[in-house]
């Protein structure tokens, strides 16, 4: 028997019954810890389970992100839901099928090879029998270990995976009550919480009596600097909190060095070695250096964070759109001084959030308010300004990328140093609490300093810091800045966005310095045919090298996400006139087996648009410790009139494992745009976003100095 590749998700949830229930006639209940965040995972998991079980997708009822029903999987992040969660579902579903068919074979006294399944009914040599999954499930033990029974179908036997099944959740999201924001629980009350100007501020004065006088039917909850209101009607809660804001005075706040490069230079945190081979310093060749800067970025979800909490005695039930419902229980248990098993968290989809924004904070604040009204659910919806200014930000970063290039144009050595605040600071990781309201309580809860994500888990600041190119000497390091006051956590692709931008900028700078074609230079330094294939095909689709100069140009960016997930090459075409316009983007992706090709392409298209938005427009600004980009006017994102024509091509390899794609296009798109601008204008913009002002600044700088320096 061949060994079956397992999934980390099976380690904690080894039994078939952790994943699949057959207690209701005709229905397969599929349980997953991975949650729908707009990426289509719900549909993909249903496809996989239905495929392995030979049932119709409509027969599968998905329960996901439910801490009481399990399974306990790691959060929905790092583009791992298909790779690990999907893999676990495939193995579990195949094991359930194998166990039930073995039982059927015994009862029918038929060889198992003669049996087949149609919508859960057992067929013997193509003829119907009295047996179904549901009749058999009463006599078999589904607590059996998945890995002992798993027999996943060979690629050629799959019927549903590999097809573009439409999303199972889209209709309700387009015109129904498809979101947590729309959930109305019996007896539900509406809460709102008071926003401090910045996360560390203290409430100096607050005229609670005046608020009570103006809103006698509104319940006011106060604990130190945390203030919330609870009302029967949402519009009343909104009015009451607006009045509360006028009755509050805040203290605290401090000056922060404005220029990020200076702040980073002044930070005392140590440089850590991440990975490498050979010796960068002693490698020979001409030194070429680039240093890029990415600003702090907002998740900027279209809908502010929302949660509903209800206490029953010391038991707490929360509906949340957190991407890590299981991780949230321990910190909430600590925060409320109860056992974690008294807390049930149920995931309900929200708007796309692309990482760790205010979801967990809203859940905590709903629970804080709900304590005042035992038995009644309290719904908290954050303000737009809170989502922009109090939720964690994607950290700004400075990345220095250096190469040594010999006289033949071979790269002999590469060095990457990433510097930023930690990229993941979810509560629960490393026993920490990171809930913004917990800092405001009368007895504030200490905020831990979570470690950045280690490279084994895909890396944080150093994600994709390891260049993918076949170069003998490589040195990768990172510096996690501890002295900066901003609240940061996971935003799509983490450090991969800035690192890929830096590495791929450097590659084009090397090409320019050595007179090489950027595509040829990359292909000459790649020994992975899958990487070469996506780059070559993207170049071909875009008509590389295209017209260059006079304000028009093509540029390429490439990565294998996390150096282990999907391969993605993007070619961008820009026209630079009054501003930088991204007119076209071509992408080629190799993610191995594609569970749902259209869903995969949708993720790449969206990844390109979002990365283009970051790269061309977005920057969080601060005044001291306070975020000043607090609404959509201050924080504009790419609009309908600004999105490029996008063409995505997949290289599908059904025989290879399915790789995560959600974050694959993020880094390559940024690099492709930067390189296209470089080829269009002969100017290198190293400080993101690439706005008109940034181009003018780069032009000014180029007049004073050359872009590359000799050894």
């Amino acid at each position: 028997m061949t060994t079956i590749a397992s999934s980390p998700s099976l380690t904690q949830n080894p039994c078939c019954s952790d994943w699949i229930e057959l207690s209701r006639e005709g229905v397969v209940v599929l349980k997953s810890g991975k949650v729908e965040i707009g990426q289509g995972i719900a549909t993909a998991l249903v496809q996989i389970a239905a495929d392995e079980l030979d049932v119709a997708p409509a027969q599968v009822e998905l329960v996901s992100g439910h801490t009481a029903r399990g399974p306990l999987e790691a959060g929905t992040s790092s583009s791992l839901s298909i790779e690990t969660g999907g893999r676990a579902v495939r193995l579990a579903a195949s094991a359930v099928r194998a166990i039930l068919l073995a039982e059927a074979a015994k009862l029918l006294q038929a060889p198992v090879e003669a049996l087949s399944v149609a919508q859960g009914s057992i067929m013997n040599s193509g003829r119907e029998t009295d047996l179904t999954y549901w009749s058999l499930a009463t006599t078999v033990d589904l607590s059996a270990a998945v890995l002992e029974h798993a027999r996943p179908k060979a690629p050629a036997e799959r019927r549903l995976t590999g097809t573009s099944m439409p999303r199972i959740d889209l209709a309700a999201k387009a015109a129904g009550a498809g979101f947590i924001h729309d959930l109305e629980l019996p007896g539900m009350l509406h809460g709102r919480t008071l926003d401090p100007p910045a996360s560390g501020r203290r409430l100096e004065c607050f005229d609670e009596a005046a608020l009570k006088h103006a809103f006698p039917n509104v319940q006011i909850v106060r604990d130190g600097s945390f203030v919330g209101v609870i009302a029967e009607r949402e519009d009343i809660a909104v009015r009451a909190i607006a009045r509360a804001a006028r009755l509050a005075g805040w203290s605290g706040g401090f000056e922060v060095r404005q220029v990020m490069r200076n702040a980073i230079a002044a930070d005392s945190s140590a440089v850590e070695f991440v990975a490498g081979r050979g010796d960068f310093e002693s490698a020979h060749g001409r030194r070429i250096t680039t240093e890029i800067e990415r600003p702090y970025l907002s998740h900027a979800s279209i809908a502010p964070s929302c949660a509903i909490a209800r206490w029953e005695g010391d038991a707490l039930e929360i509906h949340s759109h957190s991407q890590a419902v299981h991780d949230m229980r321990a910190p909430l248990a600590t925060a409320f001084g109860i056992d974690a098993d008294k807390i049930v968290i149920i995931h309900v989809p929200g708007a796309g959030t692309y990482g760790h924004s205010g979801q967990d904070d809203a859940a905590y604040e709903a629970a804080l308010l709900a304590r005042a009204v035992p038995g009644r659910p309290v719904r908290v919806l954050w303000s737009r300004a809170a989502d922009f200014s109090l939720a964690p930000l994607g950290p700004g970063a400075v990345v220095k990328a250096e190469a040594k290039v010999d006289s033949e144009g071979r790269i002999t050595a590469l060095s990457i140093q990433s510097q930023s605040q930690a990229h993941v600071s979810r509560s629960g990781r490393g026993g920490t609490i990171n809930l913004v309201a917990a800092e405001r309580l009368a007895v504030p809860m200490a905020k831990g300093a979570p470690p950045d994500v280690p490279l084994e888990r895909g890396g944080g600041a150093d994600r994709n810091g390891m260049p993918f190119y076949a170069v003998p000497n490589i040195h990768v390091s990172k510096r996690i800045l501890r002295d900066l006051p901003y609240r940061t956590s996971a935003l799509r692709a983490l450090g991969g966005y800035a690192n890929i931008f830096a590495i791929e900028t450097l590659m084009d700078d090397i090409a320019a310095a050595t007179g090489a074609d950027p595509i040829a230079l990359r292909l000459a330094h790649l020994d992975d045919p899958r990487a070469a294939a996506v780059i070559s095909k993207a170049a071909e689709m875009a008509g590389w090298p295209g017209s260059q100069g006079q304000g028009e140009g093509l540029g390429l960016g490439f990565c294998q996400y996390k150096n282990r997930s999907a391969y993605c090459a993007v070619v961008a075409r820009v026209v630079c006139d009054e501003r930088v316009r991204l007119t076209h983007a071509w992408a080629v992706v190799d993610a191995g087996e594609a569970i749902n090709p259209d869903g995969l392409m949708n993720q790449i298209e969206g990844g390109i648009v979002q990365s283009a938005s970051w790269t061309l427009k977005e920057r969080v600004t601060f005044e001291g410790d306070a975020v000043t980009t607090r609404d959509w006017e201050a924080y504009p994102i790419l609009r309908f009139s600004e999105v490029p024509e996008i063409k995505v091509s997949l290289i599908v390899r059904p025989e290879l494992p399915a790789l995560g794609v959600g974050e694959a296009a993020t880094g390559p798109t940024a690099a492709a745009i930067g390189n296209a601008v470089h080829r269009a204008l002969g100017l290198r913009v190293r400080t993101l976003p690439i706005t008109r002002d940034a181009i003018l600044a780069a032009a000014e700088q180029a007049q004073g100095t050359t872009g590359t320096t000799g050894a």
Partner: protein, 157 residues
């Protein structure tokens, strides 16, 4: 408090609320029409767009008292017992969404466009939708869906 009469999706309804209450909360909480999305509540993201007397407007900035007696159309009006509005079907056919939060508002803006213009150009569509924010990057699919729906609407008897 006197009842305010509004005509929502062809039905005459009376609501007893403060006339200053934003229409958004009345639709979602008093009338149970959750399809109209609550976004920024500041008239900037357009996700709560509804059609009032033929004109697309953000429900978060319109006091319910100001629409007394007027016809309000919400995204629910695109769903029919026999057939949906082609805009809704085309959004599904094109899989024109990821998280989907922006879609309800976009559908209503697009409906207002198609109601007055049978054959909009791509530029007409792009410029009509330009104020609507989509964070997932489903723009290209949404534009295709609206183009397709315009074709389907023209083909209808």
């Amino acid at each position: 408090m006197d009842a305010i009469e509004i005509h929502v999706n062809g039905k005459k309804l009376g609501v007893r609320v403060d006339p200053d209450t934003p229409l958004l909360y009345v639709l979602r909480n008093d009338l149970g029409l959750k399809g109209t999305r609550a976004g920024c509540a500041e008239g900037q993201c357009m996700s709560c767009t509804v059609i009032i007397s033929g004109r697309p407007q953000t429900a978060c900035t319109v006091p319910v008292g100001s629409v007394a007696g007027q016809a309000v159309e919400t995204v629910e009006s695109l769903l029919g017992e026999d057939a949906n509005h082609p805009l809704f079907d085309c959004v599904i056919e094109e899989q024109a969404g990821q998280c989907g939060y922006c879609l309800a508002g976009i559908l209503m803006r697009a409906k207002a466009l198609l109601d007055r213009q049978l054959a909009p150009t791509r530029e007409d569509i792009t410029s009509a939708l330009d104020g609507h924010l989509c964070r997932c990057g489903a723009h290209a699919r949404i534009i295709r869906a609206v183009e397709r729906a315009a074709q389907a609407a023209r083909a209808r008897p």
